[in-house]
Symmetry: D2
Subunit: 388 residues, 4 copies
């Protein structure tokens, strides 16, 4: 199809030309004496994106899914009891990972579209006098429902309960786009990947461990190899990796970090907030429902939109793709057919989003959901004018 | 600024990623035995884009401006009398070129925004019994006003007047986007460049000469060198160029021609018609005036939009650029400040254009022209739905 | 430094411009209806490179190291007894992986530079009447020593011993460059990565399982998640991946496979043999010793060269890198300082290699190893002339 | 063919990946308020490459051939008498250009392979008491013969003769690679193109005019348009161009100038001298003759090598191309079949050149010229060792 494809899934996000260019580069010897300068710069500059000055970041040739495994196998032991909250497909998969690896997972199930109540978790932890619960597994931004959870509040509740459980936070669709404060929130393992806020192709997993979490890697009982952090520590300390790193992605990360520094993290977060609000206002103008129920918890990186009863969200997505050359996110798991999702994260601006909202209106019509054409666009326009 | 820049000037147009990739390639020896395959394929496949099977195309390292000089110096002689129509900045510059090179140019001046009446030109030619007029210089698509002229009608009028003047047609902003029928319309020299319908960066001039025009290159009285077609003929016949060709552009042209073949010329023309009508409907919804007066002659590649009295189009352009990261075309020459232009040509689709219309509405507001937000977008959406 | 860097480590190999260009592309939705065409084409076309029509290939966002883990955890169970041959650093690391994951590894240790004797392994298997040995772990091409082992002979010996152990073969530095016949050799799990014969950046792991190995994935006792093949099977069957695939690498693999098909696998293997022999003749002209003792087992993808007693191979590498802008492979593990390695695999031709040999001679001189300048180059030239 | 093509023609030179990457970029509006920053930076930073602080540079979408026309038509008038030296194909073509454009060219013909004697030219000028000779046309580096002429000496001779003729110097294959001192040498018009020392694809012509030459552009009698410097001055003064500039090339030039600044012009010149001497030592080892007779005048950017009587240089070139994937330069004009040329300019280093020399030896053998294999490589190696 002529013209630019409109990619509005909540990841992979649009890779800026600068990053693609940076990855289009001859390979190098990852054991050369010049290599540590690259490694060290990346590990230094990635820290602020996690909101940390004391945590230790690691880079893997893997996707975010693998980073769940890194977190678990490097800090826990088989059979450990952990507490997890399920509020969408990705928190579900995080739990699934933990179970597959042999943890005993206690699940707090919420309606999909809800966020968790930190106090409820705090209460559960307070009950756990014996500190049987070794870790808490949550997502910061549930990509399936478009809900951003309250990690700051969770940390308060954990502290109030005086519970020593490690806090694992999946920030795959938040870190780099939404404010993330690993140190301030006491996140022990923060998990993300390259293909969302970091504006790169998938293939680079990133994880950041608090000093507390770092202490556990020597005692963790999981047998592990590829995802073992111990050889990473050893080699990273010298500026190298224990096995061939995904060099093109490292080059891309260098450029992405440079872009993030140039724009400024606070500006990036503010931009996502502003762009996201435009999408929400469009949805309101369409008189459709946002899957995330609590307005305070609606995500600035992805909005899941509920189609009216009797309609199939897959038709919206299908028409958008085939007729209008736009990729929208599908409803995952139990939301399949009920919601479609607009990703609004990464390298994005108002014009791109207005185009996407315009196409979404057309695809809604195609699927028999006759929102007033232009109404969502106009709502977003008004917001962009007044909010700048 | 984050996100993709919105380039909506009427040239350079957006270069598709495929073409940029094709140009990102190591250089080669332009005198190698493998080189003619490239040259020959380009010269073969460019012909249908000009709507010709008998004309001879040439490629130059130059822009469209240089192609005017190619046309004149290879078929005419200093002091020759030519007839030209001025109806906008580019027809004005074409005339200026002719005058600078020493032709005697008889100018028919029209209001900017008007198209020419073929009959009026035919009448003037009919008066010229002595055939003093050696050539007619017109633009097919006046990029400054967004007017597409009637070359088929002009040919009819010339034929009716039985006048042998050569017909030079500037198709810089039409060829590759609008239907162009060099053979059927009896165009003797068709002129274009790489940066519009051919979807490439500027830097490659293209010209196509009818058999009649080709006969003149031996007798043309202009002293010339760089733009001389004689050595081109000699070398092109062997698959080479008389001097180092702009290789990256040749690689790009190969890919652009492949893309044009894949989409099909008729489909490309229909797409431009459909996308252009969407812009016109948006302008109507804004209750603004289109510079091109005759609805039949409104261009499918560029629309010049007149701002209301007392407003300055430069403010629209300036806000669009600085605040919304969109480049709009400025009013040229006497239209400066009075119109702004939206280019809608080349590698383009509905979503890109809806985004651009949305941003244009915002920029209009910024400049004090309070069109109803979303109204133009909605008008375009309705048209895209019903016209597909 | 000006000019092109000379990358002659045995991986990453030089990525051809075509592959880099193919990877320089906008991202897409990996859940779209168009996506399976990509997945299916890759999984279909990768099979012949493994020399198989019946094995099942898998692609992972990971490096070759991770593929060892895939092999082990998907077909074996913790505590299983396996037999492995250690003849260099990579076979050592393969063994290390197995031990870290909890296998009981029986190691046959060879001198580094030797290949294994299939009969000796067959004898050991024959002793194992109880079939306690569940798998055999070998490398096809030991990248550290430049030794290519005899997998065909090994299979014969295994068959003669009538032993049902699974055969795992690391083909990281062979598959795609050297002949590899998974079906004919009865390889149960063949392991490789993207950054050598596949001519891509690191970051894509590939593994191919025989039908026998595929049967084991349901009964394998390892808890696993990221590297679990079961969800891969499920999703690959539909043309998808269980989690976000490394899209840029998939695009690159598509192009690499196209290039391999264009050249032809037999031609690729013959080219590596021819280029490798040139290197060996150069080493002979230098009167240096090749680490691989048996001339029949010298690798066509990498040559490890022993420096004379009293000299330090690290100096050769260091001078090559700093003074001549060439990366040579270092001696790994116990060979550190004793050998340097020239990688001659992937997208390579005579001219590139002659340049590399010329620079190697200079670096040898710099390190105090006064080989006759030009002698190695001349030996290679003679061979290239006579062998074509 | 697998592996990297070996491009060793004396232009186009190898374009560094950095420059290709810089050219791989979305287009922009060349009339935007941000554009002048690009223009001004280029025009500022190109000046030192010409060795000037007072001359005025111009950039054209054209090749070097067009720059001859710029020089002539902007400073002279039809029928003007000029003096030119012909000592190879490019000085021949420069003369041809002048004649085609209507100058009266007095030619001093030299053997091809000779340089001019400044004194002889000075003597001729001294005879011209009436100052009928308006300009002197010479090449600084005759690409066809590999001769670098003595422009400093020529200026001295001109000054001694107290002759006011303008000095036009073609520096297409010198500027950016060899020392060029426009101010010190009193060069009035210096001419070059993008595809040699500037390490870019062909398509950008560059010319630099002394203050004296600049005065002439108002009085020059040539009718001209595309190559007219007057509108360039007008627009460049504002940071713009009179017509659409070749934007991809401007992006490339920005990167090339950055690279040149990073390496340093003096280092670039020294590198070319060093690399070129290596080629000459190789030719000596082959016992072949260099076309350039005077050792002092042998070019550091290109070496033309004479094949023995009875041999055909085209066979060398043809074998190099077809069998060894290397492009060598052919003998031009009367040197066709008698010489082949190795270009050694631009983004080049020792390893690239050793590979090229190795392949050249093979191609010489193929063509029946049995130079001792490796001998040329060894001679170059020895020089590179001792000269660093």
């Amino acid at each position: 199809m002529p013209g630019r494809h409109h990619l509005f899934v909540p990841g992979p996000s649009n890779v800026p030309d600068r990053v693609l260019r940076a990855m289009h580069r001859a390979q190098e010897d990852h054991r050369s004496s010049a290599f540590p300068a690259l490694t060290e710069g990346l590990l230094r500059d990635i820290r602020p994106v996690f909101g940390s000055t004391v945590a230790r970041p690691f880079l893997f040739s893997a996707t975010g899914t693998g980073m769940w495994e890194v977190a678990i196998t490097n800090t826990l032991s088989p059979g450990d009891h952990v507490l997890a909250v399920r509020l969408g497909q990705f928190s579900h998969l995080f739990i699934d990972t933990a179970e597959k690896l042999g943890l005993k997972v206690e699940v707090m199930d919420l309606e999909w579209g809800e966020s968790f109540d930190p106090q409820a978790i705090g209460d559960r932890l307070a009950e756990d006098r014996a500190h049987a619960i070794k870790a808490l597994l949550v997502v910061h931004n549930e990509t399936a429902t478009g809900v951003t959870t309250d990690i700051a509040g969770l940390r308060e509740a954990m502290d109030a309960a005086k519970h020593p459980a490690l806090l694992f936070v999946d920030g795959v669709s938040s870190i780099g786009s939404l404010e993330f404060r690993q140190d301030a929130w006491g996140v022990d393992v923060a998990i993300t990947g390259s293909q969302k806020g970091f504006m790169m192709p998938a293939g680079l997993g990133m994880v950041s461990l608090s000093p507390t979490a770092m202490e556990r890697i020597e005692t963790a009982g999981f047998k592990r190899h590829y995802f073992d952090l111990r050889p990473q520590v050893l080699h990273n300390d010298q500026g190298y990796f224990p096995y061939t790193p995904p060099l093109a992605h490292l080059f891309g990360l260098r450029e992405a970090l440079d872009m993030m520094q140039e724009e400024g993290l606070a500006n990036i977060h503010a931009r996502h907030a502003r762009l996201g609000e435009g999408v929400r206002r469009a949805v309101a103008a369409w008189e459709l429902r946002i899957c995330a129920r609590d307005p305070e918890r609606r995500s600035n990186t992805v909005t899941a939109i509920v189609v009216p009863d009797g309609k199939d969200a897959r038709h919206v997505i299908d028409h958008a793709y085939r007729r209008w050359d736009m990729a929208l996110g599908s409803g995952l798991g139990r939301l399949n057919g009920k919601v479609f999702r607009i990703g609004h994260l990464g390298d994005l601006n108002e014009g791109m989003l207005l185009g996407a909202l315009g196409l979404t209106e057309l695809a809604l019509h195609d699927a028999g959901i006759a929102v007033p054409l232009g109404a969502g666009v106009a709502a977003a326009q008004r917001w962009y004018r007044e909010s700048e």
